[in-house]
Amino acid sequence: MSEFLTDTIQFMPVLLRGLGITIVLTLCALATSIALGICWAIMGMSRNAALRGISLAIIHTVRGIPIIVQLFCVYFVLPDLGIDLPPFLAGVIGLGLAYSVYQAENFRGGFGAVDRQLVEAGLSVGMSDGMAFRRIVLPLGLRAALPSFGNTTVMLLKDSSIASTITIAELTRAGQLLAISTFKNGTVYVLIALLYLAASLPLAAFVRTLERRLARR
């Protein structure tokens, strides 16, 4: 037990640095996935059939390919096409794109849950379709999407570990390197698991608080 403690004290700085990168990676990928996801959702609700088709094609394509393969595509295949991305950026783009389709489904569900009659109330005071979307559907739809959004965000945090495969020294990768060099697999992976939990539990709690606060308004 005392060995576990001394190992923990010794490993923690490396693992915490990894956790820091995991969190930054998650937040960047999250922002990317939200921006793209709202795009796909809005395109999917468009009156323009071509835009709807593109959105559907993107969602089904991206959803049908494992995330690890998508990361490899961004990191290993794009350079062949002349696009050479640093690992972190490749991770943000790969995870952000992979998760954008789940976010799109979250937002689509949320926007769809907004009562059409509220939109009519906006139109009846002279709002354009765009203004009614911005002032009514967007705020109420995002609120309705929040529970599934929180779920997706926690999944993204965990799946950011896949970025370890493209040399990003996030928590999982940092741990793997430690385990390989020290042979202390047990200690290292228990610590990694605890650190992921330590990050995801507060995240889930934060989303729940947000939900409650918005529900009151």
Binding site: Q117, E120, A121, L123, S124, V125, G126, M131, I136, R217
Partner: protein, 241 residues
């Protein structure tokens, strides 16, 4: 003020309106009555373009209702909905100033001052900072009327404004509507409140199966209807047993 000439509308192969003609002059309170499915609400929604009519002409203040004119039309005629349709994430005051501030681009403080006088007019000035969910149905509908008035409309369309209310709450809304009528507002009211239509309405238009069956002074149409279909409807509504 509002003129309909041969207005037709179909949903798929179901014909809803088979040629509706009537003209509501400024200051008139016209009540649209008739059985469910007769097309009353569709007429109302076609006037402010929430439904596009297929044939005929609708004019509001001389301006034909077309896609190009929708925004101008909707600034002239406000609408009050059966289910209030207040924005649940905004306070009473914010609901009332939404159109004036964001559509009419009124300065916020002027819009708020105007909104407060309107809320006082419907008896809700002390609930300005409440959320719709904290109000009774009757109160929410009075906010709906204040929201309509905030646009300084030339006419207001009421789509069964009391049908979703507790029976006890109907009176407070009808009273606000009566005072509006007395102030000279042009109103078209789709309603099942025969007593209101008789007392407050200048005119009653009875619709069934997509046509106007009878159209005349409210007291006459509702106390001594001429058309058999109107007589049958009123008899069933007034003597349900």
């Amino acid at each position: 003020m509002i003129r309909l000439d041969g207005v037709t509308k179909r949903f798929g192969d179901k014909v809803i309106l088979r040629g509706i003609d009537f003209t509501v002059p400024q200051g008139q309170v016209a009540c649209l009555i008739g059985p469910s499915g007769s097309g009353k609400s569709t007429v109302l929604r076609a006037i402010n373009g929430l439904e596009r009519h297929d044939g005929g002409v609708i004019e509001v203040g001389g301006l034909p209702v077309t896609d190009a004119n929708l925004s101008a039309i909707r600034r002239k005629v406000a609408m009050v909905f059966q289910r209030f349709n207040l924005l649940p994430h905004r306070t009473v005051l914010e609901n009332v100033i939404e159109g004036p501030v964001h559509v009419l681009r009124e300065p916020r403080d002027a819009a708020e001052a105007h909104a407060m006088t309107l809320l006082a007019r419907v008896g809700l000035e002390d609930r300005a900072s409440a959320l719709p969910s904290e109000l009774s149905g009757g109160q929410q509908q009075r906010v709906g009327i204040a929201r309509a008035l905030a646009m300084r409309p030339q006419a207001i369309l009421f789509d069964e404004p009391t049908s979703a209310l507790d029976p006890e709450r109907v009176g407070e809304v009808l009273q606000v509507m009566r005072s509006l009528a007395e102030s000279g507002m042009t109103m078209i009211v789709v309603t099942h409140e025969i007593a209101f239509a008789r007392e407050v309405g200048d005119r009653a238009i009875f619709m069934a199966d997509g046509v106007v069956v009878e159209d005349g002074p409210a007291r006459e149409v509702l106390t001594a209807p001429r058309a058999p279909r109107t007589q049958q409807f009123l008899d069933r509504v007034l003597n349900p047993l």
